[in-house]
């Protein structure tokens, strides 16, 4: 393809091809600090392309392709090319990765142990992980957490954090502007701005962490903590996993082990500060 970026996030080596320069330039900037291995062949391929040659210039719209595609995915305008790239990269991992049990969850680590936050979009799991990652924690990822099936360790997938709507200002106020991507307005998911993880989080992206606490955050409503049984955590995590079924028994044993060994809580919080305080309290208890 005309333009190409090569990006390694955690264990996944991507190649992203594009008919336009701009999404590639945006990606190169967001991922400039990530380790590069030019000799390593890609595990996953993403293509951003124009459906018809003239649509590269005339009302350019970005179609998402690659190893895996969603049949009815709508194209995005070129101004949202970066979002298209990110969605396509996530899709390849969600549908194609088989080495780990993939949880749709954010995670942060401290002292080699991981706090995993699983929830739908809107639960605030990205924002909480991003804010924790600016403090005493290592950000492992805001979208996927990878569980190694044999030993049960969590591995990081620290792509650029996708901040949405109110979270943009909340986080932007605390970080150097050089760590933020362009603001994408009016996307199907609202406003989006990417945050480059801290250099130490990127440097440590291959280091495993032992899961120590599972939280299922829910944004909005009075602060509340509800212990969650093994069965419910199991069910929720199978729903939060994109490759549980494909992994067969390896996925089953990884997940039963995770919910047995790691305490799980549902957490309701009215604002990020409260959410973080609740998470820190539960962490202290769980790791005491």
């Amino acid at each position: 393809m005309r333009y190409c970026a090569r990006i390694a996030v955690g264990p996944v080596q991507f190649r992203v091809g594009s008919d336009w320069r701009r999404p590639i330039a945006d990606l190169d900037r967001l991922y400039s600090a990530y380790p590069k291995d030019e000799a390593r062949p890609a595990d996953a391929t993403v293509r951003l392309f124009a459906a018809r040659p003239w649509r590269r210039w005339l009302r350019p719209s970005v179609h998402i392709g690659g190893d895996f595609v969603v049949p009815d995915a709508l194209p995005l305008p070129l101004s949202m090319g970066l979002l298209a790239a990110e969605m396509a990269m996530n899709l390849q991992v969600a549908l194609g990765w088989r080495r780990h049990l993939l949880l749709h969850a954010s995670a942060v680590a401290r002292d080699g142990r991981a706090l995993i936050l699983s929830g739908e979009s809107g639960s605030g799991k990205s924002t909480l992980a991003a804010l924790l990652g600016e403090g005493a924690w290592r950000l492992m990822g805001d979208e996927f957490t990878l569980i190694e099936p044999v030993r049960g360790a969590a591995f990081a997938f620290p792509r650029a954090v996708s901040l949405k709507n109110q979270a943009i200002d909340e986080v932007a106020a605390r970080v150097d502007a050089a760590r933020l991507g362009p603001r994408l307005t009016g996307t199907p998911k609202g406003d989006i701005r990417h945050l480059i993880p801290r250099a130490d989080a990127i440097a440590a992206m291959h280091e495993p962490a032992r899961p120590a606490l599972l939280l299922f955050p829910r944004f909005g409503g009075e602060a509340a903590i509800e212990p969650m049984g093994e069965g419910e955590a199991f069910v929720r995590l199978t729903e939060a996993s994109t490759n549980y079924v494909a992994l067969g028994e390896a996925g089953f044993s990884a997940l039963t082990r995770l919910v047995r060994e790691v305490p799980a809580f549902g957490v309701t919080y009215p604002d990020s500060a409260t959410g973080i305080a609740l998470a820190e309290d539960l962490w202290t208890e769980a790791t005491a």
């Binding site: 049984g229 093994e230 069965g231 419910e232 199991f234 069910v235 199978t238 549980y244 079924v245 067969g248 028994e249 089953f252 044993s253 039963t256 919910v259 047995r260």
Partner: protein, 93 residues
């Protein structure tokens, strides 16, 4: 109506993990996970290796657990057996 006769999955085909209130059963033949509640795991365990119908299984359940006076147990056991058959955990013998 006579009860249908079933046979349980061979024990080595299943990985059964109690997780609090529910039990997760992984079937190595189908690669499927079934989340079940009592009395399904107990029924599976009591079926043993031989052929078994609702009447026989009801007798075994009554011997193993104090079911008290709970109406037509056999009919409900027959229904649960059909559920297990739909999951593939038991098969018509």
């Amino acid at each position: 109506m006579t009860d249908r006769v079933f046979r349980a999955a061979p024990a080595d085909a299943l990985c059964i993990e109690p997780l609090g209130a529910i039990t997760a059963i992984f079937d190595r033949r189908s690669m499927q996970t079934h989340l079940v509640a009592p009395p399904l795991p107990e029924m599976l365990a009591l079926m043993g290796e031989g052929p078994c119908d609702a009447a026989l299984l009801t007798k075994r359940l009554e011997a193993a657990f104090d079911l008290g006076d709970t109406g037509d147990v056999r009919e409900r056991v027959a229904e649960r057996l059909d559920e297990l058959a739909a999951m593939g955990l038991v098969t018509a013998a």
